[in-house]
């Protein structure tokens, strides 16, 4: 049986954040995709159907992270979305709109791994219940 990698989409306007998060999480066995705007993220999400997404709340170009979260959950309701921000209040507000978790910046790699593992675990538990 071929074991499929979990797919994770990183949405952040900062190129280096996308690329280094990608390198960290790819080493942990995820298939990682990145997008720097909502306009790129949503078509990509429709195509690859990510299991999880890390979404920056403060996106300066086009849609905000909150708008991206809402669109992403419409096209892919099962996707576990983790909101990233320096602003804890805003990140927690996003949880009420369907986000599964929050990552407060600047987070250490250990925190990033923890929040992603937790979301992956939730996803596995949900899928096991439906089998």
């Amino acid at each position: 049986m071929v074991k499929q990698k979990m797919k994770l989409l990183i949405i952040d306007d900062e190129k280096d954040i996308c690329s280094f998060m990608k390198s960290v999480l790819a080493k942990r066995g995820f298939a990682v995709y990145t997008a720097q705007t909502g306009a790129r993220a949503i078509p990509l999400a429709k195509r690859v159907k990510p299991d999880m997404a890390l979404i920056d709340i403060h996106m300066p170009r086009g849609e905000s992270g909150i708008e991206i979260l809402q669109k992403l959950l419409k096209v892919n309701p099962e996707c576990k979305c983790i909101m990233t921000s320096w602003d804890k209040t805003r990140a927690l507000q996003a949880k009420k709109l369907g986000a599964s978790g929050v990552l407060i910046k600047p987070a250490q790699i250990e925190d990033l791994e923890k929040v992603v593992s937790k979301a992956a675990q939730k996803l596995i538990t949900t899928r096991c219940r439906h089998v």
Partner: protein
Amino acid sequence: MSNPLPNEKELYAKIEKEKLKIPQCIWELLYHHLGNDLYAISLIAESHVTGQDKEPIPVEDGLRIISHVEQIKELLEKMQKLGTLQ
């Protein structure tokens, strides 16, 4: 790590006592620019020096760190010009 200012305790006490607030527009800029640059620096450095594959930071990534530091400097200079930092 930066050393505390000699009057740092007094400064915090003044902020608390006078309920000094940073306007929302300044917070937005600080959160976005300073926040992203600092987070990028931290991710670049951490991805090399922590975990199982500890390694020296390659020159290319050292240059990326310097570029983020330059952007922080530019932001502070802009703020200074606008008179938000005295």
